[in-house]
Symmetry: C2
Subunit: 454 residues, 2 copies
């Protein structure tokens, strides 16, 4: 599907005002495609299209739309229709939409929704939205351990027709709703129909706690690779479940945060969506803190360079090599930071293998440094016809690149060892450190050269 051409066709149909044709056109698309189309439409076009969808499809579509558009559309259709759509959503999705509204607006909707549904959604809204409690779907299919496979299948036939129930596993609970075991649908379908649930359930369950945070939830899903995990409270009472598609969005968000942080964009105070498309001052607020740190660090670099001011008058070409040294030091240092931060994040680098990585990276940095140092030596020698200057710049390059690798490798590991997230702004701080140290090395070499050789 070419979204752009579909969007143009839909615009033409809207302009011709032939709503029947528009409805037919919209019906041909999967809701995931519709979500892409809606993203490209203007708000009024979006609303026209949305009003033509039946409740089922509108509810399905909601789950694929981004929060901004969800709230916009629900606010623009009549409240009756909005309430009907909301009750078709899984509770966690409904809670997400309502959580993104202003408080009084969401209260209006909650009052209009069926009592049981709104009570359950209200409970979800009491949890921090970054915890398992805030993410889970509270509607879970539960059975008792003394039921037979046949009983369970009958129970599913009756209960699982509700729109907002997701079905991956059947959870076994006692009469106080304590989680006892889990049975996969596959196990259920391949077991003799008279067998008791307690004989086929797995009782050694991987489960989440309502207060578990998103990064822990991602780790658990990544590690155990289940489609869904149950969520329990402090007393092991089953409160809901989280499915892999919830985690998928979360995983993408966390990855985005990790990537943005590594280039010095703070995602703690400003939501990552807003950095790209929200209020401009929020974006500025997210971007300036680490720029300040760079500013302070580079003032130190300026001070170092200033200290060697007489050198510039004596041998001005020395200054011209500064960007070369800083550029390559920064580049190879960033490579090391990136490798370490990513390796720590995926688990390929562990604290027990830290020493191995430090030694390995140092060797790699030294080899690349010597190689590039040699090139720079020859290039400078050829260009300025001074082997002395060539040696100074080449040696500075070799030392600089090696040190940049060491600093870029050590710092994330050091931060990790004191439990600071190495992704947070390692980048700018390390880049600045490399700049300052690189200049010190370079100017020291230049000074030795000037004193002893020239």
């Amino acid at each position: 599907m070419n979204t752009q051409s579909v969007v143009e066709r839909i615009r033409e149909i809207i302009d011709d005002d032939t709503l029947v044709q528009l409805r037919e056109e919209l019906e041909t698309y999967h809701v995931a495609d519709l979500a892409d189309i809606f993203q490209e439409l203007k708000p009024d076009e979006r609303l026209t299209c949305f009003k033509l969808l039946d409740v089922e499809k509108a509810a399905d579509l909601m789950e694929y739309l981004n929060p901004q558009i969800q709230v916009e559309l629900l606010g623009d259709i009549d409240e009756e229709m909005a309430s009907r759509i909301l009750t078709k959503l899984p509770h966690d999705a409904a809670a997400d939409v309502l959580g993104d509204m202003e408080d009084d607006e969401s209260e209006t909707y909650l009052d209009k929704l069926p009592h049981k549904f709104s009570e359950e959604v209200r409970e979800l809204l009491t949890y921090d939205e970054d915890t398992a409690g805030g993410m889970m779907n509270p509607v879970v299919l539960t059975v008792n351990s003394d039921m037979s496979v046949k009983d369970v299948l009958n129970h599913i036939r009756i209960s699982a027709t509700e729109d907002n129930m997701e079905l991956y596993y059947v959870y076994v609970v006692d009469k106080h709703n304590h989680l006892m075991g889990v049975v996969s649908l596959r196990r259920l379908l391949t077991s003799p129909i008279n067998q008791k649930v307690q004989d086929i359930m797995i009782s050694d369950i991987v489960k989440l706690h309502v207060d578990d945070y998103s990064d822990f939830i991602i780790d658990e899903f990544m590690k155990y690779q289940y489609n869904a995990l149950p969520v329990v409270d402090l007393y092991n009472r089953l409160k809901g479940m989280i499915t892999w598609d919830d985690v998928h969005d979360l995983f993408e968000e966390e990855t985005t945060e990790e990537i943005l942080q590594s280039s010095g964009i703070s995602t703690e105070v400003v939501d990552e969506d807003e950095i790209l498309s929200g209020n401009m001052f929020k974006a500025i607020r997210a971007r300036t803190p680490w720029l300040f740190i760079t500013l302070l660090g580079e003032f130190v670099a300026v001070h170092v360079a200033n200290h060697f001011e007489p050198t510039f008058s004596l041998l001005p070409i020395v200054a011209a090599f500064m960007p070369l040294l800083a550029g390559l030091g920064g580049n190879i240092g960033t490579q090391s930071i990136t490798l370490m931060v990513r390796g720590l994040s995926t688990g390929q680098v562990t604290m027990s293998s830290a020493l191995h990585h430090i030694i390995r990276e140092t060797c790699i940095g030294a080899m690349i440094g010597l190689f590039f140092g040699m090139i720079v030596l020859l290039a400078t020698w050829g260009w300025k016809d001074s082997i002395g200057l060539g040696c100074v710049v080449g040696l500075a390059m070799a030392v600089n690149m090696t040190m940049a690798t060491v600093i870029g490798t050590l710092t994330p590991l050091a931060l990790k060892s004191i439990n600071v997230d190495p992704a947070v702004a390692s980048g700018p701080v390390i880049a600045t450190t490399i700049d300052v140290v690189g200049l010190l090395v370079y100017f020291s070499l230049v000074s030795i050269y000037l004193v002893h050789i020239v």
Copy 2:
């Protein structure tokens, strides 16, 4: 579970040579935990533990281990046992393990495996491992459209007990194995048992083609959020299916590649695992190409600076500000690159919204630039007691930061518009460009200052 302490306990048990106790200890862990433990053990300890597992658990564990350890363990146990473990694996997992072995080694195993299984695995090995064909599991539960729900449930009861079948959806095919529709287990379990499959199946199917590449597969899974997608050949014949957990690993790999590329590490010729822990020369090969580009770019910067050599003799302090300008320009430019590359990758930035983002980023860059320019102006004025120099450095800073933002925003979008992956080495190229342009601006301002004011 604290992996480190478990590993130590296991080492103690191995040293005491009490294998019965070791077997009991190992049985208490989930295979995902065992995989973490195995990762930390030494090869001989790993082997001792692996030999104690029963075939079922050993096969389960295989799927959680990394390829290196999989091949190592299978090579070290006797071939009989290795074959039994392989036949318990889903075909795609078995093909992955065999694909990672030397050709003659994998042939030895393939000859030992049951004929049907080895034929199916051989077929998988003919596909490129980055395509749907190379990733799919060919064992899929299929039914005919005129079967009733009851027939299907009976069919599942008989067929789905094989270890290597994954069960998420039931696929409906005609007698030539052409894919006609799909039924979810939930739909199956909640439909009347006499209903025909053709009445409950979805025939508008999201499917993959055997030749589809991994990035397309990821996009489809991310977009439609299904647990599994069917894979068909050119003639719409069902060949297998891919499940979300396969895609999850793929997604993590692609994300790692995107992150490494953005810092100028080439992942095209060298596998990303090897960059962190393989042969050192491969790591060097992955890291040097973009360092060379930086080297060439920075030689241009050196040339620019060299052109202004007389300035350094006249007003040597000018040189000292170079790292400050380059550092902050590089930092804010990197922020913009990161935002654009990530936004393009997640779909938050589209080509139709490109102009909006360019304007928005430029405004943000200008505002931050003016702000930092002002700070630098005041700091320099105060430090060197020269308002003229302060103005030059402050203005250079403002222009530099604004331009860095524009270059950092425009370049990824321009690359994308000519269908070049913007993640590939945008970073180093743009950083170098910003350095060169920044120096030109700075020295031009300095020259004007020297001519007109001093």
